[in-house]
């Protein structure tokens, strides 16, 4: 597992904070398209990725905003495959 990707009790985590736009979206969609993400994972991201949501919907994934891990730590999103 890389520094940006780790397994925890609540599932796979992917950290895309600090990456320039549009790399967060590319990393998340890449993890989904390659099958690395499985059926669900948690994303740590600098700001809410409004442009990502329609792309998730195209792939049959849903999102839930979980809030932040702390001040200035960005946003956490729970992504889950719900079928196309």
């Amino acid at each position: 597992m890389s520094e940006r990707r780790w397994q925890a009790a609540d599932g796979l985590h992917l950290d895309v904070r600090g990456l320039p736009c549009p790399e967060p979206m590319v990393e998340i969609l890449g993890a989904i398209d390659r099958g690395d993400a499985g059926q669900a994972f948690i994303v740590h991201i600098d700001q809410e990725p409004l442009m990502l949501y329609p792309k998730l919907e195209e792939r049959g994934w849903t999102h839930e905003l979980l809030g932040s891990a702390g001040s200035g730590a960005g946003v956490r999103l729970s992504l889950r495959y719900s079928g196309v």
Partner: protein, 425 residues
């Protein structure tokens, strides 16, 4: 309020009220129609243009201010805060910029087409004020360290060029009354280089570093060659402005050479983005963008040939058409047809409305626009080379049909917002 709702409010606060960017894009789309109608109506005056207060000057500024600058301002105000994660300090300056821009453009055109000097100068001054206010508003956003440094560096350089463009533009407008500039034509060329390659060109190249990877879903281009291209482009712009002001062929040729090197590096980065992107089919929008990428080096090559006197008497017009029509107008219409649906989607998603689209739809309208745009530019190039006003009139007619199709596409896209209006902040 839940924790998630609080964060959501923070994230969406970087989105301007949708009416703010949309009014700039509406002005841009309608200006494209105005441009081609002006070409149609004043075809003779355009093909005979040799400078001075004429309809050709009006047509050029409908394109550069009404369409190109308006798109750059609308896109900058919306995309930069989202990309940098830092909201604009206030929304009212953006609205003020729009009204100043609209009033300034109206006065400028009224003055040019009606030969009313005072109106023309007042319009020029209002345009200068609008662009200065825009530069001040956006500069603070670019000073933030962190993400998007390449795009911010290009936009920052573009802003400096904008200030110089606006200053020279106001000076040129006043010169019609005061006669205080030693050479109006040379200063006008410096204004053209600063505006076309400086403000609009650098901003277009900078935004490409965000938009092209975003559309192609690829990683951001490598930063080092991007900075190299910016440095060489800046050297070219400084050389071009100096060459224009002191009437130096060597400096103008050096400017064209620097521009060609910068463009070669930039296009190599863009090609890599497209080749490594997750999305390969980019549709009509990238047909226009690729056309723009062909016209940009051709404009520099033609500019260099004009400088050394190898391109014939009419090549000056050819250079202008390649720069503003071929490169900038093609690039702006190509990206705008993707930005508009993206903007509508972002606002509807932020407002938690139904799922929306990111891709351009109304394909037939965009096909009509793309074909008409290509044909109109080709006819305009023939008019520039031959001096035949009939070709310019045909360009105006075909271009107007294409521009109407683009207006219909834009209205269709914006209709999504009218059906599900997000709350205005």
């Amino acid at each position: 309020m839940t924790l998630a709702a609080g964060f959501l409010r923070g994230a969406t606060s970087r989105l301007l009220p949708v009416s703010v960017p949309l009014r700039f894009f509406a002005l841009a789309v309608l200006s494209q129609l105005g441009l081609w109608l002006t070409v149609f109506i004043y075809a003779e005056a355009l093909t005979a243009f040799r400078g001075g207060l004429s309809p050709a000057l009006g047509a050029l500024h409908i394109l550069t201010v009404g369409m190109l600058a308006s798109t750059v301002i609308g896109a900058s105000l919306q995309i930069l805060p989202v990309a940098t994660g830092k909201a604009l300090p206030a929304v009212w300056p953006a609205r003020l910029i729009f009204w100043l821009l609209l009033a300034g453009l109206g006065g400028f055109l009224g003055g040019v087409l009606g030969f009313r000097l005072l109106l023309f100068m007042a319009g020029g001054a209002a345009l200068g004020l609008a662009l200065l206010l825009f530069a001040m508003l956006i500069a603070a956003n670019l000073w933030r360290p962190g993400a998007q440094r390449v795009a911010a560096a290009y936009a920052g350089a573009g802003l400096m060029a904008l200030l110089a463009t606006a200053a020279l533009g106001v000076a040129l407008a006043l010169d019609f009354e005061l006669g205080w500039i030693p050479s109006h034509a040379r200063t006008a060329l410096a204004h053209l280089v600063l505006g076309g390659y400086g403000f609009m060109g650098l901003t277009a190249l900078g935004f490409s570093h965000v938009l092209v990877p975003m559309f192609a879903l690829s990683k951001a281009p490598a930063a080092r060659p991007a900075y190299l291209a910016l440095a060489v482009a800046l050297a070219g712009i400084v050389s071009g402005v100096a060459g224009a002001l002191v009437d130096s062929t060597a400096l103008l040729v050096a400017a064209a050479a620097c521009g060609l090197v910068a463009v070669a590096v930039h296009l190599r980065l863009m090609r890599h983005s497209l080749q490594t992107g997750m999305r390969k089919r980019l549709g009509l929008s990238f047909v226009l963008v690729r056309g723009a990428w062909v016209a940009l080096p051709l404009s520099l090559l033609t500019g260099g040939l004009v400088a050394v006197g190898w391109a014939g008497q009419r090549a000056g017009l050819l250079f202008g058409i390649l720069l503003f029509g071929g490169w900038l107008q093609s690039f702006v219409t190509g990206t705008l047809q993707r930005i508009l649906p993206m903007l509508v989607s972002m606002h509807m998603v932020a407002a938690r409305k139904r799922k929306t689209w990111l891709e351009p739809h109304a394909d037939r309208l965009l096909l009509v626009h793309a074909v008409a745009h290509g044909l109109a530019l080709a006819a305009l190039l023939i008019a520039a080379l031959t001096g035949w006003s009939g070709a310019a009139r045909a360009a105006g007619l075909v271009g107007s049909l294409g521009a109407l199709a683009f207006v219909a596409f834009s209205a269709d896209t914006a209709a999504g917002l009218l059906q599900n209006p997000p709350r205005e902040g």
